[in-house]
């Protein structure tokens, strides 16, 4: 199955109930199975600018490269799969663009963004992220976190200083320890996970998971798995009902069918001739 047919992708973004601006940006490249979400920060409209740059760099560069290349090919420079190499290289490229913009234009000084991106290929997903925007997965009725925040709070949880239950009461919730565009260099975290038919992946900004508990997210994704647009709207509505103090963005990716890459010599040869 072609990647565009194997995935159903629905996304929604909302400024929330308090903020005047929406500093979140989202991007979908259905033809190559790419979803990107970024949550910007900075004064004036700098947050929007930073997250907008990050999403457009990722979407255009990766889509363009994958027109003539296969994500399972090995990248010549890094000897990784191209899918992984592309995520890493383009998060770094977005970092450079944002950093340069913030250095050269005073109104953009100090801007930055979080990012979470999923590139679906060959019955797998390569996930790259920086900061506290998250990816979750619903499989067999259970919600699991795919990413781990780069935040002070997560570090405190990891060191055993604070329990996951208590973390909701922390006043240090929104301090990220890594962001795109604030320094000359960034180290994205990238992992590859296997994907099953029926899985639902959720990408979200912290405006969702700060306002809605994981149990409620799980309940929505499970009961509304047959109607993704409704599920996306329900999640945003719940965040806003609970106060909506930040911008809320959700992207849902449902795996409808198998999308493994052909590997036998005959199809490879045919592919080769087609190029």
């Amino acid at each position: 199955m072609k990647i565009a047919e194997a995935l159903q992708i629905v996304s929604r973004t909302h400024p929330g109930m308090v903020r005047a601006h929406n500093e979140d940006s989202i991007g979908v490249e259905a033809m190559c199975g790419l979803v990107v979400l970024a949550d910007g920060m900075g004064g004036y409209n700098a947050g929007e600018v930073a997250s907008g740059i990050a999403v457009s760099v990722m979407a255009t560069e990766i889509a363009q490269r994958l027109q003539h290349a296969n994500p399972i090919d090995l990248d010549a420079a890094s000897h990784e799969e191209l899918a992984v190499a592309l995520l890493r290289a383009n998060i770094q490229k977005a970092n450079t663009s944002i950093f340069h913009a913030s250095q050269s234009q005073p109104q953009y000084a100090g801007m930055g963004t979080t990012i979470v991106a999923g590139l679906f290929y060959d019955n797998r997903v390569a996930v790259g992220h920086v900061g506290d925007s998250r990816m979750y997965r619903l499989r067999d009725e259970k919600l699991a976190a795919v990413t781990r925040d780069h935040s002070l709070l997560q570090e405190q949880i990891d060191s055993g200083m604070i329990s996951v239950e208590d973390a909701r009461f922390s006043k240090n919730k929104n301090l990220v320890t890594r962001a795109v565009g604030v320094d000359a260099q960034v180290i994205p975290e990238i992992h590859v996970h296997e994907v099953r038919v029926g899985d639902i992946y959720l990408l979200c900004s912290d405006g969702l998971n700060d306002m809605v508990t994981d149990q409620d997210i799980e309940a929505v994704l499970y009961s509304m798995q047959g109607n993704l647009p409704l599920a996306a709207e329900q999640l945003i509505q719940m965040a806003n009902d609970n106060g909506g103090r930040d911008n809320v963005s959700v992207m849902l990716v449902k795996v409808l069918g198998d999308f493994s890459e052909p590997r036998n010599w005959r199809t490879k040869l045919l592919d080769w001739f087609k190029k």
């Binding site: 920060m41 000084a109 200083m161 919730k173 409620d216």
Partner: protein, 247 residues
């Protein structure tokens, strides 16, 4: 003002200790930051670790232990107005950070450039200069410490009365379903599903999937959610049920 500990005994207030260092120790020996000269207190009894706005209490393997709000504990994430009991003394933790700053400030994602090594005063972690001029809508009502403590996530739902769906027909007739969750699923995903959503201003029924749309008082639902009133009759694929509020 930063957080502080108020030392007291038998209800009388003795002294305030601002939490000015990343790690402060409590004990009988003079080397501690908070010295309590009493034989029930170990030489080094406990420590308080403060990182930005959060403080953590840790028992340093003391002989007599300690408790917070009456519950014995080894390790505790301190919340405003917690009372630490140590021997006959009490230490009240006061952190009025939330009332000093608008709630919006705490929702704003900020970058922490360096790992926290020493105690950092909250002033040093601020937005870049441009951040101050950003248009912000600050809610009129500051978040009260009490609401903070119980968790904001329950705030909205607590306002709604308890409601029940009683099944009237079919094999489960007579069963009552209390709508205690924010989202209650009726039916089975993949076949026929409707959800009952609990929102701050009431309960809503929404058709999710399936060929037949549920009926409310004989009227089929549209694609839109519909608010439920007391004693509404729901018909979901032939199974009748009644929605009502519990007094």
């Amino acid at each position: 003002m930063a957080a502080k500990l108020m030392l007291g005994m038998d209800g009388a207030h003795i002294k305030d200790y601002p939490l000015s260092k990343e790690r402060m120790t409590i004990g009988r020996k003079a080397s501690n930051d908070i010295v309590i000269d009493n034989l029930a207190i170990s030489g080094e009894h406990a420590a308080i670790i403060t990182i930005l706005h959060d403080s953590f209490l840790e028992d340093l393997d003391s002989t007599n232990g300690l408790s917070v709000n009456g519950v014995p504990t080894k390790k505790h994430f301190l919340q405003n107005n917690d009372v630490i009991e140590i021997g006959k003394h009490t230490l009240k933790y006061v952190n009025d950070q939330m009332s000093q700053t608008s709630a919006a400030d705490f929702e704003k994602t900020m970058v922490l450039r360096e790992p926290v090594k020493t105690a950092v005063s909250p002033v040093e972690i601020t937005e870049p200069a441009a951040g101050f001029t950003q248009t912000q809508i600050i809610p009129n009502t500051p978040v009260s410490p009490a609401a903070e403590r119980t968790g904001k996530l329950e705030q909205a739902s607590a306002a709604v009365r308890l409601a029940v769906v009683q099944i009237l027909t079919g094999p489960n007739a007579g069963k009552e379903l209390e709508l205690v969750k924010n989202l209650t699923t009726l039916g089975k995903p993949g076949l026929q599903v409707a959800v009952l959503a609990r929102r701050p201003h009431g309960f809503f029924i929404t058709h999710v999937e399936g060929a037949t749309f549920p009926l409310v008082n004989g009227q089929p639902l549209s694609e839109q959610p519909r608010q439920l009133n007391d004693h509404d009759l729901i018909d979901l694929a032939g199974v009748k049920m009644e929605f009502y509020f519990k007094s």
